[in-house]
Structure formats: C-alpha cells, structure tokens
Amino acid sequence: MKLQVNDIRNWMNLSNQLIQENKSYLTELDQAIGDSDHGINMARGFQEVITKIQDQSYSTPSDMLKDVAMTLMSKVGGAAGPLYGTAFLKLSMAWKNKSEIQVNDIKDGLQAGLDGIKQRGKATSGEKTMIDVWDPVVQLFSENDITDPSLIEETAKQAMNNTKDLKATKGRASYFKEKSIDNIDPGSASSYYIFSALSTSLQGA
C-alpha cells in the first residue's frame, strides 16, 4: 500500500466526484449553521484542482499536491479555502522529494496537515470544525498499523457524525451557539469526502 503520482490524481478525482455529487448537501449543511456557501465553494475549488492537475505531469506527489494546495487557496475562499489550502501545502511539504508515499508518510503528512489547520484556524479539537474529522483520522494512523484502508473511511464518517453533538465555538457556526448542536459541521462533511476518497484510492494502491 503506497501512493504514487497517479494514486494522488485518483484521490483528487474521487474527492472531486464526491464533492460535486454532494455539493447541494454541503451547502444545505452550511445553510443550517452558516452562510449557505460551503458546497458551492468546495465544488468550485475542486473542479479547478482537477482542471489544473489533470493533464499536467508531475514527478512527485508533493509537486502535484502543491498545485492542489495553491488552487484551493486561490479558488475556494471563505474559511475552507485557507484551511484546506494550508493542509494540502503541509502535506506537500511533508512529502517533499518522495516519489512513493508509504503508510508512515501518510501518517506524518496528515499530522502536518492537521497541525496546519489548527494553527491557521486558531482552533483545537471539539470546536465543531473539520479538525474533528482530521484529528481522529490522524489518531487512527498513529495508533494502528493500517492494513485495511476502509478503516479510514469508517473513522472519518464516524467522526463527521459525531460533530452533530458538538456546540460550535469557532467559525461562523459559533454564532449559532446552542442552536449549532444537532447539525453536522459542513467542513467535517467535506473532510469526510476527502478521506473517503483517500480510502478508496488506497484500496487499489
């Protein structure tokens, strides 16, 4: 189980597919405790990612992810743009010069991405943000020897659903205070799609 440039492209294609398919759903989640744009922003950003990377040849996953990061940063906007942009930039930096990414590299990369999100968003776990999906996934890698990639999908899904119970204290949802409870955090849902796509692309790799 290792990731090469084409697997990363696959990961991005699958992420984009899930996000396009669930664009309205993500926007509806953001309608409940935000400003109705998360699906629109993510769909626009990932579409641009695909346009950017699809016909380009890259020598390393890191190179490709740098383009992914820069595209998300400049096309998503809002809160999600800088956060995902930062996360993928950290991932790219963590994997610098490697042509093959091992499970251990994934662990390190996701950890770096998570740290980037936390730092950029000045947030921590339990505040009902995408961190609440990234954190458990990173923990999964730290605590286990991942042999079955579907564990990633399961963990992310569970984590996403768990955000329902949380009260938002960061981001736009925080204005909803108690009323934010019982709603899935939109950024956690989009993160789930990204991890679900990672899980699928790891199956074949």
Binding site: D35, S74, G121, K170
Partner: protein
C-alpha cells in the same frame, strides 16, 4: 429564486464588469482578478484595501474613491476573497508608504487577509491590518471568534480613508482606524431572509409574523426570534443594545447610521431613524451626523441595522472630509 442575473456562478464577475463600466473614469479592474481600484491613486499616501464576500453592495467597491478606499476585493457571494486576489490589490495600491487592510471579523476573512499580508510582506511591502468587530449581537470573548464586522465598517473606511488622504503615516492611519473600531457598535434585525444565487434557496426561514433580532449580514443566527413589533420598539431595542455596549456618557456626541439590509424601503429606514433619534435625545446624547440608506447589505434581506459611532473632533473632521467614493459622497 427570482433574481435579475445570468448564470448564478457568474454574478460576481458580471457585477464587477457592470461597476467598471458604470464608472469608467473613476474605477478600474485589476486584470484577472475581482479587484476594483481607483483609476488614479493619490500620490504619497498610505494605500487602503478592504473587501470581503460579495452580496453586501455597495460594500465594498462603492467605497473605492478619493478619500476612502484605494481598492476593494470582491469575493464570491458571502465568501471571503482569496489571498492571491488580496495580494494583487495590495500591490496595486502600494506607493511605497505601506498598505492598511480593513477586515471584517469573520474567520474566513481574517485568515485570507492574514495570508495576503504575509505574502505581501515577503515581497517587501509594509502591511498593517485592522479588524472591525462592531456587531453587539455577538459576545466578545477570547474563547470565541468575537463580534462580527457589519455596517460600522463603513465608518472605518471613511475615517481611515480621510486620514490617509492627509498624508498620514501607516501607523497613524492604523491608529485612527483602531480608534474608530473602539468607538463604533452596531446591531441588526431581519424580517425576511436572502438567497445566495448559487444556492437557490433562502438561507433561513422566518414565520409570517416573526423577526430575528441580532441577525448577521450573511444570515447568521441572531439573539432572538420573536413576533414583529412596531418601528419604535425595534428602534429602541437595537439602539439600547448598542448604547449599553458603548457605555456613552450624557453629553457625548455620536454619528448615526441607519442601514437597510437590501429590501427595506427607505421610507421604513426614516421611520426607524425618527425613534433612534428620540432615544438618543432621551439619553442626552447629541447627534453629529445621521446617515440613512443602504451601506452594508445582505442581498435582498429585509431588515436594518443601527450603528453608533462616538465621535470627537478628530473623527468629526475626518467624517466630514471630502470623499469621491461612488456610494459615499461627501
């Protein structure tokens, strides 16, 4: 959804084109961006950049002009613009005296403007930021994202803009912007929601007899939903909340902004204004200037906000200074 638009995904670029074509002698668009800048910059002046999601027109492009902003960055609807766009604006308006960014306090805006600052500084441009947080509907606390930036932002644009035009330094302009932020508070309410064009559905629902007090300009939750009441009660509730927070003394002088959120007839804003004015009188506050109209909207939301700015001689003279911004002529 009933809107005068073409493709919902193109509303921002269509709008920006329209703005440039409406004021070709005053405004220009930076190629490949949604940045609107003054066609001719004043020389020897600190640059002023603001921006944010679109849908708040005339904010922010309407405040670009001699005496106010040098450039405004238009994000997608309700979506903070991205660092590359903000950077393009910073670079376009810097004349070597540094650039002040006026940012509304939302997570997305703060992060994107932060990143743009970092990028600009790495290119050797002096950049400072101020974060406007006038919305008293949200509690200010270190453990939260803090108060939101709403209509009071326009006073910051005006005052910082006038200060910059005097040839003041970056620090001086920043200082007076921060002073303005310290002294400005707002509170809004909505009667009906708005619809993000690409979303196609209203962002929230209110019953036929319901209003929401403390609404955010992106439709974020307010303090309370309750049956709609008289203009007088609405004026008193909004104004009192602002007064409580500003802690004014009898005899203090204020500038007042009665802002429509997009679909409220001007008639209603003036009706509201009458009661705001009365409450200020009752509190022995004197009114320096009143601004009534649409300054910071929320697409076609029905509702309003009340903003008070405590003024002193400096702020008064800066408010009165000439402005050629298309949406704020003094």
């Amino acid at each position: 959804m009933k809107k005068i638009i073409n493709n919902p995904n193109d509303v921002v670029s269509d709008m920006v084109s329209g703005m440039i074509q409406a004021f070709p002698e005053k405004l220009e668009q930076i190629d490949g961006t949604m940045v609107i800048k003054r066609k001719e910059l004043s020389s020897n002046k600190v640059g002023l950049v603001s921006g944010g999601g679109s849908g708040h027109e005339p904010a922010h492009a309407g405040y670009v002009g001699k005496g106010m902003l040098d450039a405004a960055v238009a994000g997608e609807v309700f979506t903070s613009p991205t660092p590359d766009q903000i950077l393009a604006a910073i670079k376009a308006v810097d004349t070597g005296h540094g650039v002040l960014l006026i940012v509304k306090n939302y997570t997305g805006d703060v992060m994107n403007f932060d990143m743009a600052s970092e990028l600009a500084e790495s290119e050797g441009i002096k950049v400072e930021q101020v974060i406007v947080n006038d919305d008293v509907a949200v509690e200010d606390s270190d453990f939260t994202t803090g108060r939101r930036g709403i209509a009071g932002t326009v006073f910051v644009h005006k005052i910082a803009g006038a200060m910059a035009e005097t040839g003041a330094t970056l620090n001086e302009v920043k200082e007076v912007a921060e002073k303005t932020i310290t002294h400005v508070r707002s509170m809004g309410m909505a009667l009906t929601p708005c619809t993000v064009p690409a979303a196609g559905k209203p962002s929230f629902q209110l019953e036929d007899n319901e209003m929401e007090i403390g609404i955010g300009i992106h439709g974020e939750a307010g303090i309370e939903r309750k049956p709609i009441t008289s203009a007088k009660n609405i004026a008193n509730e909004l104004t009192q909340k602002v007064l409580d927070d500003l802690q004014l003394q009898s005899g203090d002088e204020v500038a007042v902004m009665i802002n429509g959120l997009g679909a409220t007839p001007e008639m209603e804003l003036f009706i509201l204004q009458q009661h705001v004015n009365q409450l200020l009188k009752d509190n022995n506050l004197s009114v320096f200037r009143t601004y009534v109209g649409e300054f910071m909207t929320s697409l076609e939301m029905t509702g309003c906000s009340v903003t008070l700015l405590k003024v002193d001689n400096q702020l008064k003279s800066l408010l009165e200074a000439k402005s050629e911004a298309t949406a704020f002529r003094v």
